[in-house]
C-alpha cells in the first residue's frame, strides 16, 4: 500500500510537470487568446493532465490514509504535499470559473515546487502522538490547507498582474522586488536540487558538539558543513571541515541548509540569467501580454474572497475547537496559532483596503504576494525555526 501510494504521488508530480509545459504551449500557440474565452487544444490537454494528476494525488492521499490509519496530514512532508494538492484543486476550480490557461502556467510551477520541497523532509509514515489523535485534527488541517491554497491562487494571479504591468525596460524598485520573488522561487528549487544531490551521494558527516545547555551531543549533517556546530568536532573521516563555527544558540545544521539553498539558488539563477540575458520577469512578460489586467485583478481578489472564509473556518475556528478538546483551551498564543491569526488579520486588511480606491490593481497584487509570503512563513519558518506545540519537528 505504501509503495502504491508513493508511486501515485510520483505520477501526479510528473503529470503536473508535463501539464505545465502544455500550459506554456497553450499560451505560445495562440497569441490572440482573449482572457476568458479561448482555451485551445494545448490548453485543454494541459487541464486534462492536471486533473488526471490531481486524481492520482488524491489516490496517493487515500492509499496513504489507509496504510497509516489516519489522514496523512500529520508531519511536514504530508502536510506540505497536501497543501500542494489543494493548490492544484483550487486552481482547477478557479479555472472553471474563469477559464484562463495562463493561471495554470503560474500556479502549477508553484504547486510543483511545494511538492518537491515537501519531499525533502522525512517521508516515513509517522504515528500520532496523543494530542493529534482526534478527528478534529484532520478536519482542521485539511480545511486550513485548503484555505491557504485558495489564497495562494491570488498570489499566482497577482504575479501575472505584476509581470504584465511592471515596466521592464528600466530597473526600478518594482522590478527589483518582483525579481526577488522570482529569485525566492528559484532558491526553493535550489534547495530541492542541492538536497537531492547530496542525498543521492549519501553524504553523512557526524559531529560532536556542545549545545546551549553545555551538554555534549552529536549531530549528523547530510550536506557538507559550511557552518559548523558550536565547538563541533568532525567524527566522520574524509568529510568537509566547517568553514565557520556557529554559537550554540543557532541551529548550525539548519543554517547550513539555508546557505546551501542560497548557493544552489544563486547558481541556478545565474544560469537562467545567462541563458535569458534579462530578468526572469522580463522573460515572462511576452507570455502575459494578451491578458487583461482587470481580469487577473478580479481573479486575484475573487480567490481571496473565496479563500478567506475557508481559511477562517479551518485555521481558526476548527483549530480552536480542537485546541479546546486537546489542550483544554481554545487559544493559547502558541506561535503557530499567532501566525494563523496574523495571516487572517492580513487578509482582513486586504479585504478592507479593496473597499477603498487606489488599492485595486498593482497594489492589490503586491498585497497578494505579501499574503503568500506570510502563508509560506507560517508553513516553513514557524515549523522549523520557532518551535512550539505545533512544530512537527522536521
Amino acid at each position: 500500500m505504501v509503495t502504491i501510494s508513493s508511486n501515485l504521488l510520483y505520477i501526479a508530480f510528473v503529470l503536473y510537470l508535463v501539464a505545465t509545459l502544455f500550459f506554456g504551449g497553450a499560451i505560445k500557440a495562440k497569441k490572440d487568446i482573449e482572457g476568458k474565452k479561448g482555451t485551445n487544444r494545448w490548453g485543454k490537454i494541459a487541464v486534462f493532465l492536471t486533473i488526471i494528476g490531481f486524481i492520482s494525488q488524491v489516490g496517493y492521499f487515500i492509499t496513504r490514509w489507509i496504510a497509516a490509519g489516519h489522514a496523512p496530514v500529520s508531519n511536514l512532508f504530508e502536510f506540505t504535499t497536501f497543501f500542494g494538492m489543494c493548490l492544484v484543486g483550487a486552481f482547477i476550480v478557479i479555472y472553471y470559473i474563469y477559464r484562463t490557461p495562463l493561471l495554470g502556467l503560474f500556479t502549477m510551477p508553484v504547486a510543483i515546487l511545494v511538492i518537491a520541497y515537501a519531499s525533502m523532509f522525512p517521508r516515513d509514515i509517522s504515528p500520532l502522538i496523543p494530542a493529534l489523535q482526534s478527528d478534529w485534527l484532520h478536519i482542521h488541517v485539511t480545511t486550513a490547507a485548503l484555505g491557504e491554497a485558495i489564497l495562494a491562487i491570488s498570489f499566482a494571479a497577482g504575479l501575472i498582474y505584476l509581470v504584465k504591468v511592471i515596466d521592464q525596460s528600466k530597473a526600478s524598485k518594482r522590478t527589483f522586488w518582483l525579481e526577488t520573488v522570482m529569485f525566492a522561487l528559484v532558491t526553493t528549487l535550489g534547495f530541492v536540487l542541492v538536497s537531492t544531490l547530496f542525498s543521492s551521494l549519501d553524504y553523512k558527516a557526524e559531529f560532536n558538539w556542545v549545545d546551549k545547555n553545555d551538554q555534549a551531543v552529536t549531530m549528523e549533517y547530510t550536506m557538507p558543513a559550511i557552518t559548523g556546530p558550536h565547538e563541533g568536532e568532525l567524527l566522520t573521516k574524509g568529510k568537509f571541515e566547517p568553514l565557520v563555527e556557529m554559537p550554540a544558540l543557532i541551529n548550525a545544521k539548519k543554517m547550513n541548509s539555508v546557505i546551501w539553498s542560497f548557493i544552489g539558488g544563486f547558481i541556478l539563477y545565474g544560469l537562467i540569467r545567462l541563458i535569458l540575458r534579462k530578468r526572469i520577469s522580463a522573460a515572462l512578460q511576452p507570455l502575459v501580454k494578451n491578458i487583461n489586467l482587470d481580469f487577473v485583478d478580479e481573479i486575484s481578489y475573487r480567490s481571496v474572497l473565496i479563500g478567506f472564509p475557508v481559511f477562517t473556518l479551518g485555521a481558526l475556528i476548527f483549530a480552536m475547537i480542537w485546541a479546546q478538546i486537546a489542550w483544554t483551551r481554545f487559544w493559547g498564543w502558541d506561535p503557530k496559532e499567532v501566525w494563523a491569526l496574523i495571516t487572517w488579520l492580513f487578509y482582513a486588511a486586504f479585504l478592507h483596503l479593496r473597499l477603498s480606491k487606489g488599492w485595486h490593481g498593482e497594489k492589490s497584487a503586491w498585497l497578494a504576494v505579501i499574503g503568500f509570503v506570510i502563508i509560506m512563513f507560517n508553513l516553513v519558518a514557524v515549523n522549523l525555526v520557532i518551535a512550539g506545540l505545533h512544530s512537527y519537528a522536521g
Binding site: A67, Y98, P122, P127, W339, L345, L353, K357, G361
Partner: protein
C-alpha cells in the same frame, strides 16, 4: 438639520449625496465627476455629515476604514513581535523569567523582557489595541448600515439620467423592439434576478442580502470579543490543575466540595515498532513515540451535607478513561489529561539493624505522604520519626529544610530505641547518606526498598464563555460567507429620450456581471453596455 427634497419628490436626510429614490446627484463636487462613487449608495452617513463636536470627531475617527486597517496592521505587527522569542508561559520553569531571557538570548532577550514582550498578549497596550478594533467595529458598522439600509429600501425603479450615465457599465441603444425588453426581462428572471417594472422601466436586482454580510460578520466578531472579555468575570472561567496519585481520591476544586475524583491507574503507552510495523522507520528516527496518556478515573458525588473533619459519604457517578482529546465531562466541568509523573516515591522501608551483628529487629514502611510519628516493633524496640523532610536540602544557614511537600528526596531524623539503648539513638538518614550527629550508634536504619506510584495531572476546566464565543464564531462565518460568496448586482433597463439605456452596478466582481449581461442581451437589439473605466487605468478608480 434640513432634509433634502429631490425633484422626484423623495425626501432625503441631510448629508445625502445621491437621491435615495432616483439617484439624482445632489453633491456639487461630485457633479462633474464622470463616474459616481456608489459606495453606500451616496447615503447620508453620520461620519460624512457632522464634524463639529468632540463626539463627532471620535465617531469619525473610529468609523474610518483607514483607521480600522491601521488598527488591524498594528495588531498584526505586535502579534508577530510576540513570536520572536517564546512567551513566558512557554519557558521552562527552571529559572525566573527575568534571568531566563538574558541567559538564553543575551542582550536581545534582556531587552525583550524589559519591554514586556515576554507577556505581550496580556499587556495593557495589546488589550487596548483589541478594544479599539472592537469599538471601531461597532461605530463603523452603525455609521453605514442604517443609511445603507434606508437607501436600498427607498430606491425606485426609474432612475435619474445623471445617475445612469455615470454608472461604470452604461450603454444606449435606439430602435429596440418591445419584444426585446420582454425577452430581457424573462432572461433576467431565469438568472434569479428580482425584476421590478415601472412605466416600462426595469430594475433587476439580486444578492442584496450580501450587502449585510460585513455587518453580520462584524456583529459576530463583537460577540466573540465580548465572550473573550467575560472570561475576566469571576465564576465564568476556571482553570485549576489537580495532581492525583494512583489510588488517591481528592475533591475536585471549585465544585463546592460536591465532586470527588479517584485516580485508579495512570497509564503511559509508547508505540511498539514490532506491533505497529507501518511506523517502524519513523519510530526508529524519533527513538520513542508516545501512544497514549491515560488516567482511569472514577467520579464521585457527595451525598448528604459536608461536615468538616468527617469523611464525606460518596456515591459513584461514573468511570471514565481520561485521555488526551477525551476529557471527563460532568455538569459544566471537564477534567483533562495534561501532565503526569511516573514512579514518584510513595513509601520507603527500613530495617532496624544492629551495626555490629547485622541482626535485624523488624521492618518499618513509611508512607511518605503520611509518616507516622512512631513505629513500634515490639520487644522494646521502636522507632520515632523526629523530623521528616520530603524534599530535603541544606538551607543557606546549614540547617536541613525541605523544598516542597513532594517526596523527591526524602530525609528523616529517626530516634531508635532498643532494650540496650533505652534513651534512644538519633540518626539522620537521607538517600545514600547517614549522619549520626551524637556520636557512634549501635543501631542503624538500613534501607530496604521503595515503592513508587504514578501521578497524573488533570486540568479542571469550566468555561461558561464558550457558548458566547461559539455563537460569535457562527455569526461571523455566516456573515463572511454572505458577503464573500454572493454579490449585489443591479441592472437598469430604462426608456430615456426614446432610447433604451442600460446601466449596471455590482459591489464586486465586474467580470461576472459583464458576462451575465452579455448573455442576457445576446441576440437582442440592445447594445451591450460599455465598461467606462476599462480604458482608463483601472487602479485609479474604485468601484
Amino acid at each position: 438639520m434640513k432634509d433634502v427634497k429631490c425633484e422626484c419628490g423623495h425626501v432625503n436626510p441631510h448629508g445625502t449625496v445621491l437621491c435615495e429614490a432616483c439617484g439624482k446627484v445632489f453633491d456639487e463636487q461630485s457633479k462633474d465627476k464622470s463616474l459616481l462613487d456608489m459606495r453606500y449608495e451616496g447615503s447620508a452617513r453620520r461620519s460624512q455629515t457632522y464634524n463639529k463636536t468632540i463626539v463627532d470627531k471620535i465617531w469619525n475617527f473610529f468609523s474610518s476604514v483607514k483607521v480600522g486597517v491601521w488598527l488591524i496592521i498594528v495588531t498584526l505587527i505586535a502579534s508577530a513581535a510576540g513570536t520572536i522569542l517564546p512567551q513566558e508561559m512557554y519557558i521552562p520553569p527552571t529559572m525566573p523569567a527575568e534571568e531566563y531571557y538574558e541567559d538564553q538570548y543575551g542582550w536581545f532577550g534582556k531587552l525583550y523582557y524589559e519591554l514586556g514582550f515576554n507577556n505581550l498578549y496580556s499587556s495593557w497596550w495589546y488589550l487596548v489595541l483589541i478594544a479599539m478594533i472592537g469599538i471601531s467595529l461597532v461605530i463603523c458598522s452603525l455609521d453605514r448600515v442604517v443609511p445603507l439600509y434606508k437607501a436600498l429600501k427607498a430606491q425606485r425603479v426609474t432612475r435619474h439620467e445623471g445617475f445612469l450615465k455615470r454608472q461604470r457599465l452604461f450603454g444606449t441603444s435606439g430602435n429596440v423592439d418591445v419584444q426585446d425588453i420582454a425577452t430581457v426581462k424573462q432572461r433576467l428572471k431565469t438568472k434569479r434576478y428580482h425584476v421590478r417594472e415601472e412605466n416600462g422601466d426595469l430594475l433587476a436586482e439580486k444578492g442584496r442580502f450580501s450587502r449585510w454580510g460585513p455587518y453580520v460578520n462584524h456583529v459576530g466578531l463583537i460577540i466573540f470579543l465580548i465572550g473573550g472579555m467575560l472570561r475576566f468575570v469571576p465564576g465564568m472561567y476556571i482553570d485549576k490543575v489537580l495532581w492525583l496519585r494512583e489510588g488517591e481520591t481528592k475533591v475536585v476544586p471549585e465544585t463546592d466540595g460536591q465532586y470527588y475524583v479517584t485516580n485508579e491507574k495512570f497509564i503511559l503507552e509508547n508505540y511498539d515498532k514490532d506491533k505497529d510495523k507501518t511506523f517502524e522507520a519513523a519510530i526508529d528516527r524519533a527513538g520513542m513515540v508516545v501512544k497514549n496518556y491515560q488516567t482511569n478515573a472514577v467520579l464521585y458525588k457527595r451525598v448528604g451535607p459536608a461536615i468538616p473533619g468527617e469523611k464525606p459519604e460518596l456515591e459513584k457517578v461514573k468511570e471514565h478513561k481520561i485521555k488526551v482529546n477525551q476529557p471527563l465531562k460532568f455538569e459544566k466541568f471537564a477534567l483533562y489529561q495534561v501532565d503526569y509523573k511516573l514512579d514518584e516515591l510513595n513509601t520507603m522501608s527500613f530495617s532496624l539493624t544492629n551495626k555490629a551483628s547485622g541482626e535485624t529487629f523488624g521492618d518499618i514502611k513509611i508512607n511518605l505522604y503520611d509518616p507516622k510519628p512512631k513505629y513500634d516493633l515490639g520487644n522494646g524496640y521502636h522507632v520515632e520519626v523526629l523530623s521528616f523532610f520530603p524534599d530535603f536540602e541544606f538551607a543557606k544557614n546549614g540547617e536541613p529544610t525541605t523544598k516542597s511537600r513532594i517526596p523527591n528526596n526524602p530525609a528523616f531524623v529517626f530516634k531508635m530505641t532498643s532494650p540496650e539503648v533505652p534513651d534512644g539513638e538519633t540518626s539522620f538518614v537521607a538517600i545514600q547518606q547517614t549522619i549520626e550527629p551524637l556520636g557512634d550508634n549501635q543501631y542503624k536504619m538500613a534501607f530496604k526498598g521503595i515503592e513508587t506510584k504514578n501521578v497524573t495531572a488533570l486540568t479542571v476546566r469550566k468555561d461558561l464563555t464558550l457558548w458566547i464565543i461559539i455563537l460569535g464564531g457562527i455569526i461571523f462565518m455566516i456573515g463572511v460567507i454572505q458577503g464573500a460568496y454572493w454579490n449585489h448586482r443591479r441592472i437598469w433597463v430604462q426608456n430615456k429620450n426614446g432610447e433604451i439605456w442600460v446601466a449596471a452596478h455590482t459591489n464586486k466582481n465586474w467580470y461576472g456581471l459583464k458576462r451575465e449581461i452579455e448573455s442576457v442581451l445576446s441576440e437582442t437589439k440592445i447594445n451591450i453596455p460599455a465598461d467606462q473605466i476599462q480604458n482608463e487605468k483601472v487602479d485609479k478608480e474604485g468601484i
